[in-house]
């Protein structure tokens, strides 16, 4: 029943989207043994936070864009959406400061 504001298409029903997962995980740059822990974290470790969560949804039945969504896992409220590179939490904090 959620409405997700796709940065390219505008507000759309969540049925058009596919849930992808945690948006905070970035692929480690190199594959040598110095960063085993970083790889372990990227491939396997996921937090299950109560409250704000940055996650990815793909607009599968629309523009196929990966959308970053800042969602409250407790209330399901969607606080902000953006492109995958956007840091929504920082952006939200910035907004709060401006208010």
């Amino acid at each position: 029943m959620l409405i997700i504001n796709c940065p390219l298409c505008g507000p759309r029903d969540h049925a058009e989207f596919t849930y992808v997962g945690d948006a905070t995980k970035n692929r480690p740059k190199n594959g040598d043994s110095s960063n085993d822990n970083a790889w372990y974290d990227f491939v396997y470790l996921r937090d299950n936070p109560k409250g704000l969560h940055e996650e990815l949804w793909q607009h599968s039945f629309g523009c196929r864009c990966f959308v970053k969504v800042l969602r409250n896992t407790l209330t399901h409220e969607i606080i902000a959406t953006g492109m995958p590179k956007d840091n929504l939490i920082l952006k939200e904090k910035g907004l709060e400061l401006n208010v």
Partner: protein
Amino acid sequence: MFRFQSRQQQRLDDGGQINRLAPINFTFDGKKFIGFEGDTLASALLANGVRLVGRSFKYHRPRGIYSAGIEEPNALVALRSGDRHEPNTRATAIELFPGLEAKSQNRWPNLLLDYLQINNLLSPFLSAGFYYKTFMGLPGWHFYEYFIRKAAGMGDGTKFKDPDKYDKKHVHCDILIVGGGPTGISAAVTAGRAGARVILVDNHPKLGGQLNGERYFLDKKPAHHWVEQCVEELDGLENVTIATRTSAFGYYDSDVVNAIESVSDHLPEPLGYQCRQRLWQIRAKKVILATGATERPIVFSNNDRPGIMLASAARRYVNQYAVKPGKKAVIFTNNDDGYKTAFDLARSGIEVVAVVDSRKNIPEHFEKELNEKDIEVIASSVVIDTYGYFGLNSVKIGTLSHNGKTIESNPYIVSADLLAVSGGWSPNVHLYCHSGGKPVYNDSIEAFVPGELSQNGHSAGASRGSFSLTDCLQEGHNIANTMAEALDLEVAEQIIPETNENTIVPIEALWRVPGKGKKFVDLQDDVTESDITLAHREGYVSVEHLKRYTTLGMGTDQGKTSNLNGQAIMAQEKSEPIEKIGTTTFRPPYTPIALGPLAGRDIGLSYKHTRRSAMHNWHKQHGAIFVEAGQWLRPQYYLNEMEQPSKENMDKAISREVQTVRTSVGLVDVSTLGKIDIQGKDSAEFLNRVYTNGWTKLPIGKARYGIMLREDGLVFDDGTTSRLDECHYFMTTTTSNAAAVLSHMEYYLQVQWPKLDVKVTSVTEQWAAMALAGPKSRNVLSKLLPTINVDNESFPFMGVREVDIEGVPARIFRISFSGELSYEINVPADFGEFIWQRILEVGKAYSIRPYGTEAMGIMRIEKGHVAGPELDGRTTATDLGLQKLLSSKKDFIGSKMMHREGLKDENRPRLVGLVPVDKKSRVKSGAILVKDPTLAPPVPKLGHVSSSAYLSPTLGHPISLGFVSGNIIETTKKIWAVSPLHNESHELEITDPVFYDQKSERLHD
């Protein structure tokens, strides 16, 4: 007309909102009755003097009609018959229609003589948790369970297919108003006048809500005048939609409310064009919850007999349906509501024996009317017990002691056939709770009311605990204007009509009356007061535990009349205030709903897409037997004109197709393979990261086979990719992974490597694809392309050509899945069937034959090619024998994790060929490989069979692919395949996975 009336002995001569000119025939338990248009099944049964309508869930006690609405716990009946048979419907919510057929439930052989009433005598043993405590520890629970489940119960469902259609609709509005009572109507008028887009839903056939069951006057005229006037105005407003017979059953995220519209439930059957029910998914900016309140009973001994009902229900039967629910009535109340019932019953000619009020002081403003009607009030008193097995005949009354725990003076018995009970009103906070709100306890009305707002759904009127009619009308108007303002609309005027109601004196809580005998809290689930005290003694004191231990409130009525009483009794046992005990979580649906409207039209063939290739019609006309592959329909094999579908003919056809390809030439439809167009200047670099092998040196006009890993190092998918131009590639994926591979690549391009200049697009549907395979395929191709040189030097293995076939642009890839010389030909989908037919015409000279997925599958097993069963998400490239494709010179997806210890273990199961030692046993794929089939479990698993061909026509015996642990392969050549489910075991020989043309000479020549 008189003839009909004479049979309805309990019908009043006038009044009510029924149409006496429209009699309706119906049957109950096979007996014929007559009611009127406007009746419910319950009111029509009461009009005909039927009081006993069912047996209770557990004790099989006789039960009657308890309420006049959707909260009904008792009067559950089976409605209709045959394929429209529907069990557990509430008689109080069924509109009477001609020919209605209803049956009582949970009795055998009939209502009066129910053998299982013995449970009532055994009841001292049948307390909460009895069955589990008694039987679960004993051996043979499965044996007892059958009888226990049969004895307890609800009606039986039908086994026929539902003949009716269901629909869905999605609607949007500014303000959704749930409930068409005084609050909802008042809100709709104001919101409508303010210009908001309004939807008003109500579960009854007409608006009015509580006004329909009362004798209220608005502006000195009966209330229905005001209702009609408002409905007329609302009907005239284009921005207002009124949906009656529409029950809002759930409030979801983002202010979405779902409702079921009963389109034709009030008719014998849907008219030709009609659906039975329609799901409304309503997305509203603001929601007004005007859902009213539900009266609750008081708990006393034998409070479940037919003839005992809620006070407001008794009032509604006389006022709305002109039915006398009894002849001599006693009212038992702890609040002012009982007096309204006393007056309305007396006005209708029912003898009101007494109003038994548990409070000390009788409200003064009732005295005048009590005297006028000569109604006796017995203050500080309670009903202690009742009598009458199949229906109430007398009531025992006594005085309550000061502490409320004992009965003081000598109790006495009065005769009565109707006992109307009011324990106060509980606001219907269900939808508010669905929206995420937490209800709070309000002492002044002794009930839970909405607390803080969670979404945009505001409660108003009785649903937030405002029980006065004037307050309801005013609140509806106010909240609508507040919302109009928030939506930037002009606020609207509405003159609130004057009412004739009395001031309301606060309720004094009375939850239960001391005394022996069975005191029912939850009538539907037969939960008694003693079950709750037992739960307390045994430590199930949290409301959630109480619910699950006793089944309190777990019936189809979701405890609408019972939850609060149960929770209050637990609070008393614990000596804690109710607000500390709390209430259980309310979950959708508010009322039971059919699954039909949730599915809507998405059933049968419409349940999922069916994808067909461009050549589908040709296959159909030429004997193809189809098989489902994901959403696709693919030809499995082709029968001759002479052949009937049978197992023998199937085997014959498959062998024929394989032999044709191996000796001459065949054509197979491979349009279902995923096709992805890749463009951009970084395409080669991207492929280098996505695939495990190297791609930067692939020349234009060449194809290459590759495998993709997942980031965890296991194999994800395989396929070929061809370079069409400097920055233009064409990728194929397996049929089943087409969508997943596209998303996988999009993820890396958009999220991890956004700087790469690459675009990927699915072109699966745009291209029809067919593989021309067999030693004679080059002959066919050269005839098809007379101007092009297709010899081995000009068009070598893994070569790609873009050509014209009779004016149709085509891409030809010299790749092979079958192991033969083979060309995969792609043409725009619109030309697929034309080119397919052209190839078959040209190939006639070489006895060309189309072949299906079975022949294709057998040939790839013969050739040892891996496919879906081998790429099952658990295998590494090395397991599959594809370690040569793992580049050590670059970083690719999975390159880090594939070096994990567990994935490099030499003893991991590896791909092998398997041949039955007897050369004829059919080994099932999925069979487990063990050393010795006679060992007792646990038997160590050495591997499994992944793909099986029951007969390789080329080799003349069955062959399989499978995985066997590395250390076993080295030490033994024989192994057993077992399938305990089928009671099968076969000895197999371990061989090389490539059974056919191990040097791959056939592809290269």
